[in-house]
Symmetry: C2
């Protein structure tokens, strides 16, 4: 299937941050074979051409941190302190989760992500194989984390199983699956467990993703348990010798930030979750100034409560202006980079996705600007960051294959997924 997107406005998100009016994009064998001015485009006989004066093409959005199947507990408990929220609501609800539930919950998450233009997601949840199955079936790109909670039974066997998981799924789905190792945190896995996980990462060349420095309490607990801050602990145990993706990183001191800047440390910033859970505001403007890599994530739908990357992008561009009292902090461009190339770098996929450039995989979305809230069209980048939303997404492709075309799902039955999710949720509520 060869496809031409023409004419479109192309927001390339490349290093030069080119925005091309009247552009053409050619897609061959799942990759971008041309992106540039319409009148310079080489001869091409596509199977299909899609374009129009109101369509803006951009790289697919990259979600660097989520717990996808927690769609099933969306809205089940809000506005509570962390301890009763976990102990009285979320854990009793999750206790009866079965593999099939995670498959359906991930399908629901994928439906929502596709509808809103997300093409890649880094996931961290139980029954990893079920999440991967949903991604393989629907055509999504996924970085599934092999989750390790050290206090659960048979932790050592699970670390061995994680090694198998990484080897089995690396490159599955024509290269769409990139497994990660996902030790939950320093406060839920102990030193011997972390040592083993780091060894597996080294052996398999898989990256690690974890939670780090999300709350004040976590920093205090980790400091008491390990002798220094979460970031300094990760550094000390060798977890930062290779690239590591840390979710949140809200509370860091000067020494932490020096380490983050000097190592291949990446931050998955989850601004809305950090607000809703009352964690705080991460010092993202400072991280960017130090050259620390930053991507965005919605976190799980129990603490957000949706998977809308446009909201995260908008918050990233606005929240830190107020936090620093500097209206120039985190520009629209910087926020758009976080959700595209910044996210790709967090996942080690920067040579494959994250920008519209020749040779890259065709993970592309089209945004429909024929809307009152995107009028007049003074500045396309500004509108993408400060005015657009998930529902403005017109079409979405991954590897040159349509997942959404003109608002219609192409690889999943959304009505059935919603219906099954409702039934499972009702059952889990009754059993909680």
């Amino acid at each position: 299937m060869e496809i031409a997107l023409s004419p479109v406005t192309a927001v390339c998100c490349d290093a030069e941050f080119q925005v091309l009016e009247d552009a053409t994009i050619h897609i061959e064998n799942g990759r971008i074979s041309y992106v540039g001015p319409q009148h310079y485009a080489p001869p091409f006989a596509p199977d299909e051409t899609l374009g129009g004066p109101h369509l803006v093409a951009m790289p697919g959005l990259i979600n660097t941190h989520t717990h996808a199947a927690m769609t099933l507990c969306r809205g089940y408990a809000d506005d509570m302190a962390l301890e009763p929220w976990l102990h009285d609501k979320i854990w009793p609800y999750e206790r009866n989760l079965e593999a099939h539930h995670v498959y359906v919950g991930t399908m629901l998450a994928i439906a929502e992500m596709i509808r809103g233009g997300t093409t890649t997601f880094c996931d961290m949840y139980f029954f990893e194989r079920e999440g991967v199955r949903a991604a393989l079936e629907t055509g999504m790109r996924m970085c599934p984390g092999a989750v390790l909670l050290g206090f659960l039974p048979q932790a050592d066997e699970k670390i061995a199983a994680a090694r198998d998981f990484v080897r089995e799924f690396r490159g599955a789905g024509d290269g769409r699956i990139t497994p990660f190792l996902a030790p939950h945190s320093l406060y839920t896995c102990d030193a011997p467990q972390w040592d083993k996980i780091i060894a597996v990462a080294r052996d398999t060349d898989a990256r690690i993703t974890t939670h780090a420095a999300e709350t004040r309490r976590e920093v205090a607990d980790v400091t008491a348990q390990w002798g220094q801050s979460p970031i300094q602990t990760l550094h000390k145990i060798g977890a930062l010798d290779a690239p590591l993706l840390a979710a949140h990183s809200v509370y860091t001191d000067e020494r932490d930030r020096e380490i983050m800047a000097a190592t291949p440390f990446f931050v998955a910033h989850n601004p809305q979750s950090n607000l809703k859970l009352a964690s705080g505001i991460a010092p993202i403007a400072d991280y960017l100034a130090r050259g620390i890599g930053v991507g965005l994530g919605p976190d799980g739908p129990a603490s957000n409560n949706n998977l809308d990357m446009w909201e995260e992008m908008r918050l990233a561009a606005t929240l830190h202006k107020a936090a620093t009292l500097d209206p120039t902090a985190v520009s629209a461009r910087a926020a758009l980079e976080m959700v595209t190339m910044g996210g790709a770098k967090c996942l080690g996929l920067e040579n494959e996705v994250g920008s519209l450039e020749i040779g890259k995989r065709a993970d592309i979305l089209l945004v429909d600007f024929d809307k009152p809230h995107l009028t007049p069209r003074h500045n396309v980048v500004s509108h993408l960051v400060y005015a657009a939303g998930a529902s403005d997404v017109h079409s979405v492709m991954v590897d040159g294959k349509w997942l959404l075309r003109g608002g219609e799902f192409r690889t999943l039955d959304v009505a059935r997924v919603c219906q099954e999710s409702e039934a499972i949720a009702r059952d889990l509520v009754q059993r909680a």
Copy 2:
């Protein structure tokens, strides 16, 4: 036109905050004649019935502070410090604004507001009559402010004209228009001008809306000019003897808050504008604890950059949790109240709109919950606040008349409004 909404889930936003499953709403002569269980509904022979298992009815959203026609400069300038933003970009652009432009820009704003479920807006912009014309034509409910910028020529004549404006338009459009007096601020109108405006407000029984305590710099400037803080100045000059609606109120001290709680003071909270312009974070949790009335607004589309009240509601429910490090601060219910009854009280319209109750005007919107991001349906109120968005709005009515029905505009030609707005914007850019 008599209409039945049935079956719907009715989120009433009344004092008891009732949420009724399988409800019926009857609308006669523009007012709600019944809202309650479907099986108790009295005999009724409507001209039209609309309902379904996925439709949630709620009061129309109330926007308590905006500069609607600034849609025309949406995205024209962002990520700049206030002074160059105003002096180099916004003012040169606005300099050539004509009456007709304000009409078209307000029509564009109304299109966006209707699409997103806003049914009432309190506006503050030049050429007030043109804004009112747009509201009258489209069927929106509006509180137009008669704007006074003291440094502009003929300020005294404009105060006299404001009196005429209030008298001419009060109750226009079958009661949909409620004029306000809108002195811009304490730093742009002087003491004699404020005295005259307060006298006009007393004579005409119109309310005053103004900007107060938006930025640290404003507080310093007003304190230097008037001798005390903005809130204390408003109190001292008698502006708080009658209800006053102040936009922003980000920077207030203990004495200010005592005054706010003891007087008929209302805050139009604009969380996203306060973030984007790097103003700061208003102490809304404290205001609510003191019983101070709070509504929400997006501010103008040059500083937001849309008019989406769902984003403001979501931010109101999340931002203050992080600001206070308290996950129970500003609950979903509290945020939903701000955008319904809270907003109605800000505008003195609490006996007419803001809730689904018998006798109230039928300003109602239907939200379509048949969406992945609103599934599963654990909690309708949580989903409205934490997961829903403008595009989920299915239908909107004001005074029992459809403005949007199944996503289609009924009272304006949206394609034409967008086209005219683009042409005006291009022209203003060239002349700036």
